[in-house]
Each structure stands twice: as structure tokens, then as C-alpha cells.
């Protein structure tokens, strides 16, 4: 299972390295979202600084949607999906690989966005430990939940419009918890943030577990 996961993740990341869709489109989009938030909230450092954690995670959420869509758009052409299905790879491994590739791209994106909020919103990056741990747990949760819904929506003609409706309410707890944990980290009160990290860990565990169990059934359908 783990070997299959590595194979699939390596394939997705190789496609990304050659096509540069995430680098050239998703990352600039995320940066643009940060700038647009500043327009919407009036470029007042006070408001932006206080809302920085929430805006950061909202930007990550929107980018995650794009990353998930991209991840399954890769399989849409040339019967790649059938190829994947017939490859003999363990479905749980395929799930972990696809989610892992999405998580890796999101992690890089989060690093860029962290620089973004530090520069644009003037956030102090205190409590680096809790910021990093939160980011890892939230990213795993987002990638797992996103991949499960991504494969549900992948074969549909209405996937672009249906996917946000399916994913966004489900990952609402990630937004809530990650925002609170980052708030605590950015304001230097890391201790208050740890219960939220636990919630993120629960979310990630539930969706990774669900994906491992259900992905085979979801991939089988045409």
C-alpha cells in the first residue's frame, strides 16, 4: 500500500513539475486572494493583522479546491482513470498517493502564503511550533477530505460547480480550528491553540481512514 502510494504521489508530483500548473496558476491565485482580502477590508494593518489567520486559511481552502480539481483533471484524459483502475495498485495506496501529492503542493503553498501574510498583513510569526504543527494537521485533513470528494465528483459533467458545494461545508471545521490555532500562535499564546490542533488531528484521522476504506468503491464507478 505504501509503495503504491509513493508511486502515485511521485507520478502526480512529476506531472506537476513538468506542467507547472500549481506553480504558475494556483500559487499566483492564492497570492491574489490575499491581496483581494486587503482590498475588501480596507488596507488597514489593524484589521488585517487581527484577521490574518482566518484570511490565510480561507486562501488555503480556495487553493485546495483548485489543487483537488487539478489532481483529478489529470486522470480525466486519455482514459487515465481506467489505467489507474486496471494498474493493479491498491486503491488505498492510490488514495494516499493522490492525497499526499495534494498535501505536498498545499504545504509549499502554505509556506508562500505565510510569507505573504507576514509581508502584506504585518503578522508576527511567533509560536512557530504550533503554526507548523497546525499546518501539517490541517493540510492532511484538507487533502484527505478533498481527495475523497474529488473522486466522487471526478466523473461528473458538473464537477466544477458541484465540488465546492460538497467540500467547503465538510472542511468548515478545518477552517475554524486552524484559524483559532493560528490566532493563538500569531498572538504568542500558543497554549490556547493546542485543543484546536487535537481537533484537526481527529478530522485528519477520520477522513484519511474513510478514504482508505471507501476509495476503492468510489474509483470503481464509471
Amino acid at each position: 500500500m505504501w509503495r503504491d502510494a509513493l508511486l502515485v504521489a511521485a507520478k502526480d508530483l512529476r506531472v506537476e513539475a513538468r506542467s507547472r500548473v500549481a506553480t504558475n496558476q494556483v500559487a499566483p491565485f492564492a497570492a491574489l486572494v490575499l491581496v483581494l482580502f486587503a482590498f475588501a477590508l480596507d488596507p488597514d494593518r489593524g484589521v488585517l493583522g487581527r484577521a490574518a489567520a482566518g484570511l490565510f486559511w480561507l486562501a488555503v481552502l480556495f487553493s485546495a479546491l483548485l489543487a483537488v480539481q487539478r489532481s483529478f483533471a489529470l486522470e480525466a484524459h486519455d482514459d487515465a482513470r481506467d489505467g489507474l483502475r486496471l494498474s493493479g495498485l491498491d486503491p488505498a495506496g492510490i488514495f494516499l498517493g493522490k492525497a499526499g501529492a495534494v498535501a505536498a503542493q498545499l504545504a509549499v503553498l502554505e509556506l508562500l502564503l505565510t510569507g505573504g501574510i507576514a509581508v502584506l498583513y504585518g503578522s508576527d510569526l511567533r509560536g512557530a511550533v504550533i503554526l507548523a504543527v497546525t499546518a501539517v494537521a490541517a493540510t492532511v485533513g484538507l487533502a484527505a477530505a478533498g481527495t475523497v470528494y474529488g473522486v466522487i465528483a471526478a466523473g461528473l459533467r458538473v464537477r466544477e460547480t458541484l465540488l465546492p458545494l460538497l467540500i467547503l461545508p465538510v472542511v468548515a471545521p478545518v477552517l475554524l480550528a486552524a484559524t483559532k490555532a493560528w490566532d493563538a500562535g500569531l498572538s504568542g499564546a500558543s497554549g490556547e491553540g493546542w485543543p484546536w490542533v487535537r481537533l484537526l488531528a481527529v478530522f485528519a484521522t477520520v477522513y484519511v481512514g474513510f478514504g482508505v476504506l471507501a476509495f476503492g468503491a468510489l474509483l470503481e464507478e464509471t
Binding site: L176, W196, L218, E221
Partner: protein
Amino acid sequence: MTRVLGIVTAALLAVTAVMALVVSPPDAVQGDAVRLLYVHVPTAWVAMYLSFGVTSLASALWLWPRTRRRSWDLLAGASAEIGVVFIALTLAVGSIWGRATWGVWWTWDARLTTTAVLLVLYLGYLALRRVPADPDTRARRSAIAALLAFVDVPIVHQSVVWWRTLHQQASVLEENRLLHPTIHGSMLWTLLIGLTAFTLLYFWLLVHRFRLARVEDEAEDRRLELALAERRAEADVVPA
């Protein structure tokens, strides 16, 4: 049988209306606004526990290979549809009630937020069901989506409870007590009758919606558009 159920439901709803509007006293604090309780609580009960519980159970039964029948899928869809209608009603009535007693249409209380997220989750589920697909594919896809939505609900609830209580405590908790006044006598009876009436209404709607779904399914198989329209007209009796 269904007709009897329908008549009993209609009678009980009428009794609830009389009890709620005439017999039960106005609340000491809230005045007549408290009468919204007799709609708000039953619709919430039907939506959150009954409908979505039945949807999840039916989805799980469909996924279990030994109990896999197409009926479970149709039942899950029918129940979720009723649940979405009732949860929207709950939110609407609750919002009106909130305006009357708290002075605001909406507050970011844990219960309200969870309910709103629940509504959107199941709207997504229904949207997924509407995507045309082969029945088995659709059933598998929607059953898994229903269970995913269901496991998400406790997490959402937990997160908004923490979200509210870690920092801000005062206003919301006081307001929350207003939501659950200690109730006595005719108010309690009215509420109990209301709960029974709405529960029966749910089952009556469910039977009809399920039958309709079955008929739709058959018609899809046979591609008899005429028969479809005819049965739809037959099943679409407006509740009294």
C-alpha cells in the same frame, strides 16, 4: 393505510395548532413569541435526528453487501429531501423567533452554526443525487457522501462549541437558556403533541416520497414518460 396515517397526522396537526395558539398560555418573559416553540422544536427533531438518522442508516444498509437493495438508496434520498425542507423550516422559524426575543435574526451560536452547516451539507448531497448516472453508481456515490456528511456533523458541532466557549461566553449562553425554558403543564403537552404530529407528518411524507421515488425508478427503467407524469400527479397530494 397511508390515508389513515394522513388523516391522523392532519388531525394531530390541527390539535397542535389549537393547543399552541389558543390553549397554551403566553410565556411570562417572551409573551406570544413562545408559541413558535411548538413548530421550532418538532421541525428540528424531525430534520436533525429522524430524517438524517434514517438517511445514514439506509445508506449504511445499502453499502453493506448483504442488505444491498435499491430501496435503501431511494429511502435515503427521500428522507434527506424531507430533512432538508424541515431543517430550512427550523432555521426560518428559529430566525423569526430570534428576531422577536433576542432582537437579531442570527447569532453565531454553536447550535445555529451547526444547523446551517448541516443544511448546506445535505443540499450538496441532494445536488449529488440529482446528477444523472446509472442507479448503482449513483447509489454508491450518494451513500458514501451521506456517511461522510454524517461523520462531519459531530466534528462541526464540537468545533463550533469550542469556538464559542474558549473566548466569548456571556451573551450566547444567556440567550441559550432562553431557548430552553423550563416548561410546565399545557405547554409541555402542546409540545409533546406537536412532536408526535410532526413525527407522523414525517412518516407520511416519507411514505409518499419513497413511493414516488420507486415509481420514478421504474419509469426510468421503462422510459415511460406518460406513466411517470401520471403517478407523479397521483402522489403529489397536498398535505391537509
